[in-house]
C-alpha cells in the first residue's frame, strides 16, 4: 500500500484533536462576582509573613532544619508510564522482537545536601519495560565507564559535589555538560553521551568531570573542564526494530544503532591518560542584545570510524576483522543568538580536526530562527504559535586518509544537509500541540521524520501526552530504515 505521510499526519492530528478535552472556542462574558480566591488567600496569610532587611518586620524564628529534613525537602522526582503501539511488524530476522506493543515505567529522582557553599547532588532513575534486550544492570557495575549497550535498570547519572562562590563554581563528579546556542540541532553539543536504545526517547548518561565556571566580567563566563572518562553512547540491540530494514548492499557499519555484527569489534577509548578529554569555553551573554560563545574540546570523538585488521587463524588462513574505533579529535566551536523584533536568530559551527587523518576533517554548521506569532495566534483562538526552522550541513575539508582505515564517521554524523523544524501551538497553559520534523536532503540518502504531539496538563504536576511518529525515505537512509516504526505513544508523567 502506498504511504501518504501528510494525510496520515493530518488524520492523526484530527484524531488527537477530537480526543482532547472539550474546548470552548467562543468568547464568554465571564465575570467573577465574588473572589473566592481572596478568601483562600486570607486564610493563607493568617500566619504573619516573614519580612527581612532594612525596616522590615523582625524575622519569625524558624526551626533549624536537620540533615534528614533537608534531604526530604530537596527530594524531587517524576514517575512516567509510557505505552507504544507500532502499526507495522518489524522486518523478519532471526531473534527479532516482532511484537508491536510496548510499555515502560520510569521513576526519576534527585536530591541534594548542602552546607554553606558546598552541595552534594545525586540524581538517577529506576526503569523497566517489556522491550527485549534493552534493560540490564545497575550503576554499581562498571561504575566509572558503562560499557554495556543496554539501559541500566537502576542508574545514578548525577553525582557531583558543587562548590560555589559569587564569581565561580567548581564541580567534581558526574553531570551533563551542555554546549551550544542553537535550538533544535546543536553541532557543538558533543560532550553529551546518550542512551539511544529508543533513538527518539533518549536519556543523558552524563560524564565524569572536574569543571570550573568563572565569571571574569559581567555575564562573561570562562569554563574549563577535565573529562577523564569517555562514555560511549548506548545503542539498540540486534533484535530491536530500531536496527531497521536492511536490503542487500546497504551499509551496516555506521548507523547509530549498529551493533552485533559478528565480524565487527569495538575499540572504545578506555580510561587512560591518553584518552582524557579537555574542554574550554568562553561565553558572553547580553552584549548589545547578542549572546556569543566559543569553545574548544580535545579528546575522544563520539562518532567512531572503522579500520580493518588482518588476523592469522590457527589454520593459517588470513581473516579480516573490522574494528569500530573511537579516534581523538580537536573540536573548535562558536555560536550566537540574538533577537530582532519578533525574531530570534541563532547559529553555530564546529570544526572537527582528527589526529593522524583517521577521520574526515569538516565543518558542521547550523543556522536558524524562531518566530513567535501572537496577534495572529489569538485570531485563531490560540495563545501563541512558535515556529523554529533550522538548516544544518557540513563541509569536509580533508577526507579520511590513514592506512587500514576503511570508513570515516560520515554516515553516523547528523546534520548533513538537513532541514529541521518545530512548531508549537499553545492553546493555553494546559493544552498544547507540537509538530516536529526533520528532512534529510542529501541525494540518495533522503529521509524524513515527523512527530505530532498533543500535551494536556491533567492536574498539578500531572501531564499526559499523545504522540504519533512517522518515518520514511530511501532504504539506506537513517529514517528510511525505520519506515516500519511508525508508532503511537501515550504517556502519563507525574512530577513532584
Amino acid at each position: 500500500m502506498k504511504k501518504r505521510p501528510l494525510l496520515t499526519s493530518l488524520a492523526f492530528l484530527l484524531v488527537m484533536y477530537l480526543l482532547c478535552p472539550p474546548i470552548t472556542w467562543g468568547q464568554t462574558d465571564y465575570r467573577f462576582q465574588e473572589d473566592d480566591l481572596l478568601k483562600e488567600m486570607d486564610k493563607a496569610v493568617e500566619a504573619p509573613p516573614e519580612q527581612k532587611g532594612e525596616g522590615g518586620v523582625a524575622p519569625v524564628p524558624v526551626k533549624q532544619p536537620t540533615v534528614l529534613s533537608k534531604l526530604v525537602d530537596d527530594f524531587h522526582g517524576s514517575l512516567r508510564l509510557r505505552g507504544m503501539h507500532y502499526w507495522q511488524n518489524p522486518q523478519e530476522r532471526e531473534g527479532a522482537d516482532t511484537r508491536n506493543d510496548f510499555g515502560s515505567a520510569l521513576f526519576k529522582f534527585s536530591d541534594k545536601i548542602g552546607y554553606q557553599n558546598v552541595a552534594l547532588n545525586v540524581g538517577g532513575w529506576v526503569e523497566y519495560g517489556n522491550e527485549e534486550n534493552t534493560y540490564s544492570g545497575t550503576s554499581f557495575s562498571e561504575f566509572w565507564q558503562d560499557m554495556d549497550r543496554r539501559r541500566r535498570i537502576v542508574d545514578i547519572n548525577d553525582l557531583y559535589l558543587n562548590y560555589s562562590r559569587d564569581t565561580f563554581n567548581f564541580l567534581v563528579g558526574k553531570k551533563t555538560l551542555t554546549n551550544g546556542m542553537s535550538t533544535l540541532y546543536l553541532p557543538s553539543d558533543r560532550m553529551r553521551p546518550q542512551d539511544l536504545n529508543d533513538p527518539l526517547d533518549v536519556k543523558d548518561l552524563n560524564i565524569w568531570q572536574a569543571r570550573m565556571d568563572y565569571d571574569v566580567a559581567e555575564a562573561t563566563t570562562l569554563t574549563a573542564a577535565f573529562l577523564p572518562v569517555y562514555q560511549p553512547q548506548k545503542t539498540p540491540s540486534e533484535t530491536s526494530r530500531w536496527m531497521g530494514e536492511r536490503k542487500q548492499g546497504d551499509s551496516m557499519e555506521f548507523d547509530i544503532y549498529d551493533a552485533g555484527n559478528a565480524n565487527m569489534k569495538d575499540d572504545v577509548a578506555k580510561v587512560t591518560d591518553t584518552n582524557f578529554g579537555y574542554f574550554a569555553r568562553f561565553k558572553k551573554k547580553g552584549f548589545h542584545g547578542w549572546d556569543f560563545f566559543a569553545s574548544f574540546y580535545h579528546g575522544p570523538n563520539p562518532f567512531y570510524v572503522v579500520r580493518e585488521e588482518q588476523e592469522q587463524t590457527s589454520a593459517g588462513v588470513t581473516k579480516t576483522t573490522r574494528v569500530k574505533e573511537v579516534v581523538k579529535v580537536d573540536d573548535y566551536a562558536a555560536g550566537f543568538s540574538t533577537t530582532y523584533e519578533s525574531w530570534e536568530f541563532h547559529g553555530e559551527v564546529v570544526y572537527n580536526y582528527t589526529y593522524d587523518r583517521k577521520d574526515d576533517d569538516y565543518f558542521n554548521y547550523v543556522t536558524g530562527f524562531t518566530y513567535t506569532f501572537d496577534d495572529f495566534a489569538k485570531k485563531i483562538w490560540l495563545e501563541k504559535i512558535d515556529v523554529t526552522v533550522e538548516y544544518a550541513n557540513e563541509i569536509i575539508t580533508r577526507f579520511q586518509n590513514a592506512e587500514t582505515y576503511v570508513s570515516s564517521s560520515k554516515k553516523s554524523r547528523l546534520g548533513r544537509n538537513d532541514i529541521l523544524s518545530r512548531i508549537n501551538f499553545e492553546y493555553n497553559d494546559k493544552l498544547s500541540f507540537q509538530f516536529v520534523c526533520n528532512f534529510q536532503l542529501t541525494r540518495g540518502e533522503e529521509g524524513r521524520f515527523q512527530r505530532l504531539e498533543a500535551k494536556y496538563k491533567l492536574r498539578d504536576g500531572l501531564i499526559s501526552k499523545l504522540a504519533g511518529e512517522f518515518f520514511g525515505g530511501q532504504s539506506d537512509s537513517l529514517y528510511g530504515r525505520w519506515q516500519r516504526n511508525d508508532r503511537l505513544i501515550l504517556e502519563f508523567e507525574y512530577s513532584f
Partner: protein, 270 residues
Amino acid sequence: MARRTIIWIVGILFLFSASVVSAQMTGKQVMEKQKERHKVKTEIGKEDMVLQDKSGAKENRQVVRYAKEVGKDLHRYLIVFLSPGDIRGTALRTWEKKGGDNDQWLYLPAQKKEQRIAKAGKKNYFMGTDFTFEDMEPEDLNNFNYNILRSEQFSHEGKAYDCYVIEALPANDKKKQETGYAKRIMWIEKANLTTLKTDFYDKRNKHQKTQTNFKYVSVGGAVMRPMQTIMNNMEKSHKTATTTRSRQINTNIGDSTFTEQFIQSGKHLE
C-alpha cells in the same frame, strides 16, 4: 484704601491659585514619584500563586522573584518556579536596558539550557499565568504617556481611598506595536502612591483584565508592597492570585544572581 485692599485680595488669590496649580502634578510626575518612592536596591520575594480557570479548577505554584537595581533606574530580574514538579526550575531572567529592548532569557529544565526570547513573545502569558512577559517588566516611563483622567474616591478593602485615575497610552508607534495593550487605567492612591487597581485594555480597546493589589504593608520607610495580588482575566475566564510569603528588601544580592551561571549551577532552587 479700598483700591489697596482689592490689590491685596487679588494678589493673595493669585498666589493661592499658583500654589494650587503647582500641586496638580501631571500623570507622568505621579508615575515618576511613585517609582522613586517605592524603589529599593534589591528585593527577594517568595510567593504562593494560585491559578484558577473557568471551571474553578485550581493550580498551586511557588515562585521566587529576585530584583536588583544595577544602575540609575536600571534593574535586573529573575523569576523562578519552585513548584509544581512539572515546571520546577523554570526561570525567566530580565535585564533592563536603557534606549533599547530589554534582554530576556527563559530557562527550561528539560532542555538544560537557556533560550533568548524575542520581543514579540513579551505579549504572551508567562507560564500559564495571567501575567504577560510585558507585565513583569518594570514600568517604561519614557515610552508611555500618562494622563490623569480624574481624581476619585475608590472603595477598596472596605475603605475609601482618594485616588488618581491615570491612563497609560503607548507614546510612539514602536511601543504601540510592541505592547499587547491599547491602554491601561490605574487607580493610584494619593497618600502613599500605591497602585490599587489596573485595568488592561486589549488592542481592540476591549477591557481584557484587571489587576488588584491588596494588603499593602511598609517594607522599609515609605516603601510599600502589596501582600496579595489578583489578576482577573475576563477575556480568558481565568485568574491568577499571588500571596507573598516572605520578602527581603535591600539585602545583599550579588550581580551573579542574574546570570545564566546562577541557574545552571542549581543555585536558583536553593
